[in-house]
């Protein structure tokens, strides 16, 4: 995952200056603000019995709802990390810009410039053809989907469009090799949502392969090796996704093809379904299950073993992801998310209870249990704990 700094990028500074210039001369500004404050307490039980329970976190998400200036919209949202501990425990607070962009609506297209979310979700739990891989529905708050970018969005009809995105993973730089490009066509056809897309990653990690090899030979930690992984992934990918209904079942899928200079091309396949069962006319349990297969033949066998616990001759990862949700009452929901590695049988289970308390306070309690034999992908061990838990209180305002 690209790590973004917590300071303004040049694009952000440019937008800030624009905002500063515009705001004083605008006659009426009914600016509203809203967001969410969240505190959480988490812990983990390691395989060897060690228990860590001192993980206290707090954050403040704030968004300003600014009135449009004619056909131009301004969006500004940010997250402050550890605002409470910054005040009380001397922990350093952090700042992350989630959104800071200008969007101008022209007759034939929309132009969006600045920090913005770029997400190509289509309803799956995992998305192998997203603009940013790893920005999955299982982690909706993943910061990686907020990127400094320029997007041109062209509607073709009411449910079809073409988007062109250029982003700057290594900071604002007009050198083509340091820019990331993406094109997405979205088409509504007879009740189906069809998308085709293409992404070309920036060459920000050139030389990563050599560095990775050196690190592996020197016995580097798996985490360090994983950090260099984007540098050896195929730089280009083309994807296709669809979503529609087959009778009473929601049905979706995706195909991704990954290719680039000097690496072996590979593919990914995703097929999923969602369904809801009516227990008593109003209480509906909802289920979602999907299979994803990812070919890893671009990865050296040694890395497959080190990173993904695959047998050296196994070049494919097969996963099954599932989600289940049951509304206990108007204010509470019980859910379960699971991910199973079909190749080695390891899995994790994440049961969760979410309720809205009096005072509009949300309480979420979840735990994740990792299960698997020695040497399997999701088995507890050096990289994964046996059990984690998290209690979160949040208040939207």
């Amino acid at each position: 995952m690209q790590k973004r700094s917590n300071r303004f990028t040049p694009v952000g500074i440019m937008l800030s200056l624009c905002l500063s210039a515009v705001m004083p001369v605008t006659p009426v500004w009914a600016v509203e603000a809203g967001g969410e404050i969240e505190v959480s307490f988490s812990g983990a039980l390691a395989e060897d019995g060690d228990f860590t329970d001192d993980q206290f976190a707090d954050s403040l998400d704030l968004e300003f709802f600014l009135p449009p200036l004619g056909e131009t919209e301004i969006s500004y949202a940010f997250r402050i990390g550890h605002p409470l501990q910054g005040l009380t425990a001397g922990k350093e607070a952090s700042y992350f810009t989630k959104k800071l962009y200008l969007r101008r609506k022209f007759d034939r297209f929309h132009l969006t410039v600045g920090r913005q979310p770029v997400s190509w979700s289509f309803g799956s739990l995992l998305n192998p053809v997203d603009y940013t891989l790893g920005a999955v529905a299982l982690d909706e708050e993943n910061n990686s989907k907020y990127t400094d970018a320029v997007e041109v969005y062209t509607p073709l009809n009411w449910n079809s469009s073409l988007s062109l995105v250029t982003s700057f993973p290594a900071g604002f730089d007009l050198e083509a090799e340091k820019m990331k490009w993406g094109v997405r066509g979205r088409f509504g056809v007879k009740g189906y949502d069809l998308t085709v897309n293409y992404v070309r990653e920036a060459a920000v990690l050139a030389g990563a392969a050599a560095e990775l090899t050196g690190l592996r030979e020197a016995g580097g930690a798996v985490g360090d090796v994983a950090a260099l992984l984007p540098g050896i992934l195929p730089r280009q990918r083309a994807g296709f996704a669809f979503k529609g209904d087959l009778g009473e079942i929601g049905f979706y899928g995706a195909y991704g093809h990954y290719f680039g200079d000097g690496v072996e091309s590979s593919n990914s396949y995703l097929l999923g379904a969602d369904y809801s069962y009516n227990l008593n006319y109003n209480t509906k349990i909802t289920m979602q299950l999907e299979y994803i297969g990812v070919e890893l033949n671009f990865l050296e066998p040694a890395y497959r073993t080190a990173l993904l616990k695959l047998e050296s001759d196994d070049d494919r990862l097969d996963l099954l992801a599932g989600a289940f949700s049951y509304p206990v009452d108007d204010f509470s929901t019980v859910s379960l998310i699971t991910l199973v590695n079909l190749d080695d049988g390891s899995l994790f289970l994440t049961p969760e209870y979410q309720t809205t308390l009096p005072g509009n306070l949300d309480l979420t309690v979840n735990t994740t249990v990792f299960l698997g034999g020695g040497g399997t992908l999701l088995a507890p061990g050096d990289q994964l704990p046996q059990v984690t838990f998290c209690v979160t209180l949040s208040y939207p305002f």
Binding site: P117, Y153, G250, N282, T283
Partner: protein, 248 residues
Amino acid sequence: MKKHLFFLVVSALVISNCAALALGALTAEEIIKRRDDNEHFDTAQVEAEMIIINRNRRIIKTMTTYAQGDNGLVIFSNPRDRGTKFLKRGDDLWMFFPDAEDLVKISGHMLNQGIMGSDFSYQDVMESDKLTDLYRFELIGEEEVEGRPCYVLEGIAREEKKVSYYRRKSWIDKERFVGLKEELYARSGRLLKVMYAPKVQKIEGRWYPMTVVMEDKLRKNTRTEFIVKAIEFDPQIPAGAFTLENLK
């Protein structure tokens, strides 16, 4: 229009404000037709509040809805859901998630889910046909609701139509031709929901239920109140309002 929340309520309860000159002569079809004639609005904009109540706990959701023909757009503005949007076009329902600015097509089976945790389902919201097209109505009597004389009509779903409720029983104000109460039944005969209209107001020459209460009879001590704060008929809705482009 019944495709969004307000019009669901309106479509179920609103009746023509034209007083019947010969009340005794009206048939069930005529009564329902008057209601249907009034409940299908070409264009409207509504500011509303939805309160989900369970014992002494409540969640308030505020929204602006736009309706035009078969199209509907709902934009939530309460803190928890601020910026969340639903777009309905034909049989398609789309949802906009404001945080990631994602647009996702909602699966068809989700249409029977309670919308945003309320006692109103997406299917309720999307039933746009006239009630006379969906049900065969019969006048079965006259009763009083909150001191007001009402026609009592029973509607049975037409075989070829897919509806949320097999049978519905409606109490319609004889003077104002507005629905004051409605019971919604399953095919098994089980009572599923009861709607009341405790506040009715005359707006632009029409009687409308400004507050509607939906009680889920399968769950105890739970109900959803739908309160119209402001309504405008035939407003100027910008071209392209009911598109994914506008939702984004």
